[in-house]
Amino acid sequence: MFRKTFLLTLLITLLLAGCGPDALSGAVPASAAITLTDGLGRSVILNEAAKRVVSLAPSNTEILFAVGAREQVIGRDEFSDYPAEAASIESVGGSMGEYSVEEIVALKPDLVLAAEINSPELVKQLEDLGLTVYYLANPSTLEELYVNLEIVAQLTGEDPTKLTDSLKARVDAVDEKIMPLSSRPSVFYEIDATDPSKPYTYGPGTFGDLLITRAGGFNIGGELTDPYPQISLEQIVVSNPSIIFLGDSMWGVTIESVVARPGWETIEAVKSSQIFPIDDNLISRPGPRLVDGLEQLAKLLHPGVFE
């Protein structure tokens, strides 16, 4: 047995010997450079504000446009569809996590803005190819969203104050109306109900959960453990939500089709016709439009205070 353990250790050592850690050493920063630590704990150095940016996530594209850096965006991932003018920017792929590294290199960006949907392997590969990559971690609160906006603004040499001030004011306005209320209607948020006996919903720690709570609702998915769990119809019936949001309305799910589902007629929200389609991109993308999502949810949850 010892010999076998030894052999295995030897094999692993050999596997590793092939790849030296030399590629990880960074460059020496120039003066007046922008130095920031990114979501992977990497120190990212830009000699000056980025002029040619490739965005690797829809949320990043939205943030870049919102902070006023639209002129600098020269490449985007396949799914960046907002604002509409982003569609005219060259795509570098991204379906199934496969980006065209060749296209990215050919665009000669001085900054690649990655997000949490990108793998660390991709970041490493781009870094090894000599590109400057900033990995923008997902915010876990709206307050962290403002920090992200400020980071992107700093990287692109823009001033985010006007944007963050207006977002903060809008969130404050919602908070002011919601805080005094004592009612917290229970919410079922449907992400996907291809199998209507166990649809996907937002679990704890997701933007969906965060926004529903902040908008004065009680997310029944927040009681589960996984971030994007499948909840059983039985559990939905027992929780008996008083309002249902259809995040999958963008995929063709209608109010009528929900009402027609067998077993759903006993749910309070179905009985009282409290089913609302919603643009899931406002809830799932960690960009400035989360605030739009918050406002929409709050208005649907507490229509009385938003007259």
Partner: protein, 330 residues
């Protein structure tokens, strides 16, 4: 005999050049020629040497390893359905990779090596467990190996699926890996797997004669002077090493290891002294061509190459099989 080697080497050369020439960024023949002479456009030169060449070499090595091991397994098990994943390398590697992905590693050299390392280790561990289960005294009955391999693979695969369900945020990454694709590896990956491929495939290359003897059955081969248990063990280790190293960085690429050896057998005969080397050469060509297709069908998007190998490979194989139907080939 010379003709078969010449033919497969020419195919390999063509596939290699195609793989260098075709990518999501268009580089014309003239530009490519300039780059090879060292006078090309700077960006294009960079793309060719730093992105396409390492990818091409890794893909070729992976195809060679899978197909060479597949040929050896088919001979070892005397079973036309054998592929390099038969006794658990793929399911083991998949399990290791998904376990590694479910952990938040720090962004560092070791953190990034965690996934290929875990895949490599669990792949070898799986084969080792299956081997120990299948052993009866001093012999390793082939049927036991296959059954133990299939059963243990199913076990590992369901564990993998369960883990993927639990860590939803990593599903895309895991799926990408499980479907195979060498797009995100550079020169380091090649250096890391090369020793295993050289050792593993080297052993297979010199085992042609033993594999020929094994075709008579274990007892007869023993009587012909072959130490059956020892040669089986050696072949298993060699093929598993090569396969595990290949999947560690490239993910699980199915079908290549099954059909390329069959094609070689259909076209050039069942002599393992030739079959192994021809499978190695043509496995490289086949995976290179699949990878080129994966790059261009939806450019600039790329499809995991594991989808292409079966999607294009299966109809092609069926067509060849149909034409050779009456030759009593296996």
């Amino acid at each position: 005999m010379r003709k078969s080697f010449l033919l497969s080497l020419i195919t390999l050369a063509i596939a290699f050049i195609l793989s260098l020439a075709i990518g999501s960024v268009f580089i014309s023949q003239k530009d490519l020629w300039d780059i090879l002479r060292g006078i090309g456009d700077e960006t294009f030169t960079f793309i060719i040497w730093q992105i396409r060449l390492p990818r091409t070499i890794l893909v070729a090595l992976t195809g060679a390893a899978l197909s060479g091991s597949g040929a050896a397994y088919q001979g070892l098990f005397r079973n036309p359905l054998a592929d390099p994943f038969l006794i658990g390398v793929a399911s083991g590697a998949g399990l290791g990779a998904v376990i590694a992905m479910s952990i938040q590693w720090p962004y560092s050299f070791w953190g990034l090596m965690a996934i290929p390392m875990a895949a490599f280790i669990t792949a070898l561990l799986t084969v080792f467990i299956v081997y120990m289960i299948a052993r009866v005294g001093k012999t390793i009955p082939t049927t036991n190996l296959i059954l133990a391999g299939v059963a243990f693979s199913s076990f590992a695969t369901s564990l993998t699926s369960f883990l993927m369900l639990r860590s939803t945020s990593e599903v895309r990454r895991a799926l990408g890996w499980l479907l195979g694709g060498a797009s995100q590896a550079g020169w380091n990956a090649i250096l890391a797997i090369l020793p295993y491929l050289v050792i593993g495939l080297g052993i297979l290359l010199i085992s042609g004669h033993a594999l020929n003897l094994l075709q008579f059955g274990d007892d007869q081969a023993q009587q012909l002077g072959l130490n059956v248990t020892r040669i089986k063990t050696i072949l298993l280790i060699a093929a598993s090493l090569a396969t595990a190293a290949a999947v560690a960085f490239s993910g699980i690429i199915g079908f290549i290891g099954l059909i390329v050896p069959h094609l070689m057998r259909l076209w050039f005969g069942a002599d393992y002294r030739r079959l192994i080397s021809l499978s190695i050469i043509s496995g490289a060509s086949a995976l290179l061509i699949s990878d080129v297709i994966a790059r261009i069908v939806l450019a600039p998007q790329e499809i995991p190459v594991g989808i292409i190998t079966a999607l294009v490979g299966a109809p092609f194989f069926l067509w060849v099989l149909r034409r050779a139907k009456n030759q009593g080939y296996w």
